[in-house]
């Protein structure tokens, strides 16, 4: 029963770490892209003004 | 009347055969696909017979699977070449621009790939027969049926995925990754059937029906890629 418990805990832990890890990675990529959009929009406005 | 028609069934046949013929001619000169496959296959056969030194009993159990393993991996080499050869001289671009049904290009390529694979396989049977002392030709008709049906399914998937992989950065790796999982059904049946043949067991009972199933698989996985090949070729 002891090994069983360890496996049970490990299975749930690993799976949830996987899900959370992926969600976090998505969140950070999203943030980076939003910042990039902001920068690009500024650049676009800048070059439009200078035309 | 003499121009190459772009539509219709006879045009389909003509274009496919034309493409296959082009590949045959090119191969006759260079022999690259063929030699690659046969030499590689032979080396694997030799290495395996050193590595395992099977008894007669073991050989009869293993060689069925071994032979298809070799067919698969040397086939990958051949399939890869069938499209890299095109990209080398921008032939693919030429094919794209030709006023032909893209599906016909697929069928033509399939035909040439299938032919090369089958020829190489027939030749590769010889070293296996010799090195492992097994008998493939007990029921020649069945052997041919297995070879043709198995290789057809493999070539059908291999041809379209070779075309897909030709557009990627790691094509030598993408092709087997795409093809192996998907041709597993055909591979499983082919291995089972070949092993039975080698053990001298008859392929009766359900086997003709299984062969029919594989035929359906082959036809289906020829039609599906034919249908979507245009998407693969487009710019």
């Amino acid at each position: 029963m002891d090994i069983g418990l360890k496996h049970l805990f490990l299975a749930f832990a690993l799976v949830w770490i996987l899900h959370l890890g992926y969600l976090l990675s998505l969140a950070s990529r999203q943030k980076r892209l939003s910042e990039e959009i902001h920068t690009l929009e500024q650049a676009l406005k800048g070059s439009e003004r200078s035309r | 009347m003499a121009t190459v028609g772009a539509t219709g069934w006879s045009a389909l046949g003509r274009v496919s055969l034309a493409i296959a013929a082009k590949d045959f001619l090119s191969e006759r000169r260079t022999k690259e696909v063929f030699i690659t496959m046969v030499v590689f296959g032979f080396m694997v056969a030799v290495i395996f017979s050193f590595a395992f030194e099977p008894t007669n009993e073991e050989a009869q159990r293993m060689v069925g699977g071994l032979v298809w393993l070799v067919f698969f991996f040397s086939g990958i080499l051949g399939l890869n070449r069938s499209f890299t050869r095109e990209t080398l001289n921008e032939c693919l671009q030429g094919l794209r621009l030709a006023p032909a049904d893209p599906g016909a290009i697929y069928l033509g390529k399939l035909l040439s790939n299938l032919t090369f694979l089958l020829l190489a396989e027939l030749i590769l049977l010889v070293p296996f027969q010799v090195l492992f002392d097994v008998h493939f030709w007990r029921e020649p008709l069945w052997l041919l049926v297995i070879l043709v049906l198995g290789t057809w399914g493999y070539a059908a998937l291999g041809t379209i995925f070779a075309a897909v992989s030709a557009n990627t950065r790691m094509r030598e790796f993408m092709l087997p990754l795409l093809v192996l999982p998907l041709c597993l059904p055909v591979l499983i049946v082919a291995v089972e059937a070949t092993t039975r043949l080698l053990r001298g067991l008859p392929l009766d009972g359900n086997w003709p029906w299984i062969a029919l199933l594989v035929l359906c698989f082959d036809i289906f996985f020829t039609l599906l890629p034919w249908f979507v090949f245009e998407a693969v070729l487009e710019q």
């Binding site: 029963m1 090994i3 069983g4 418990l5 496996h7 049970l8 490990l10 299975a11 749930f12 690993l14 799976v15 996987l18 899900h19 992926y22 969600l23 998505l26 969140a27 990529r29 999203q30 892209l33 939003s34 990039e36 959009i37 690009l40 929009e41 650049a43 676009l44 070059s47 439009e48 035309r51 | 998937l157 379209i160 995925f161 897909v164 992989s165 557009n167 990627t168 950065r169 790691m170 993408m174 990754l177 795409l178 192996l180 999982p181 998907l182 597993l184 059904p185 499983i188 049946v189 089972e192 299984i210 698989f217 996985f221 599906l224 890629p225 979507v228 998407a231 693969v232 487009e234 710019q235």
Partner: protein, 232 residues
């Protein structure tokens, strides 16, 4: 979709997911009875089965989105396809992790080549190939189309792979019977199954939404880049 709609939907899904997941944990660890022969470890089954269900559903979405994309060539369908593929791979990974961890203490082996496990591994490989193909395609404009072709052919083949493996198993019967689900579940166990299903489905939907949003943002970035490029 506008930012605020995304945020509101995400927040809603997140709250729902947390509620359902906590409920599922309570159901699985406290309420559901312990299985007689396998003991505590059997509780992995709830996680395992529901992950498999969500994964298959995701791959079905990939198939449908790929077909529609090839038909209409509207980018949004490609975004759906790739998001569903990534979600699917995560859940299949969960199946492949929970499976062996359950199998080892119960049946003594980490792995066996029965039909279900083999097909799960194959599914994983196919969609790994799908994602790698997108990553490695030389011309980004073609990524979507090529991937869609793989998406369609891949999914259609999977049931055939499963059946072929089952047939093969009849030729080479296994000494150990690796069952995925128990025949004749205690009704209290069905309750556990349903709650976990609901929880995993919500988690899947949440992840899908985030991934879709990311893809849409990526598209906006490349559009902006192109606009700037045109001005210079």
């Amino acid at each position: 979709m506008s930012e605020t709609r995304y945020d509101r939907l995400s927040r809603g899904l997140f709250v729902l997911a947390v509620v359902l997941v906590v409920w599922a944990w309570y159901a699985v660890f406290v309420q559901v009875p312990t299985e007689r022969t396998m003991g505590v470890v059997q509780r992995i089954f709830y996680l395992h089965l529901s992950s498999a269900f969500v994964a298959l559903l995701s791959f079905l979405v990939v198939l449908l989105a790929s077909v529609v994309y090839l038909w209409t060539r509207k980018p949004a369908w490609d975004w759906i396809a790739v998001s569903a593929a990534e979600v699917g791979i995560i859940f299949i990974a969960a199946v492949l992790i929970s499976g062996p961890l359950w199998a080892k203490p119960v049946w003594g082996i980490w792995w066996t080549w029965d039909a279900r496990l083999t097909t799960t591994l194959i599914l994983f490989l196919i969609y790994l190939a799908y994602l790698l193909l997108r990553y490695y395609t030389l011309e980004t404009a073609r990524q979507a189309t090529l991937a869609a072709v793989v998406g369609v052919i891949g999914f259609v083949d999977v049931p055939i792979v499963y059946m072929a493996n089952r047939w093969w198993r009849t030729q080479h019967p296994q000494p150990v019977i690796l069952g995925g689900s128990e025949s004749g579940l205690d009704p209290r166990m069905w309750y556990g199954v349903l709650v976990t299903f609901a929880a995993m489905l919500t988690v899947g939907a949440l992840v899908f939404l985030q991934r879709y949003r990311l893809e849409e943002t990526r598209h906006a970035v490349s559009e902006l880049r192109r606009a700037i490029g045109r001005l210079e």
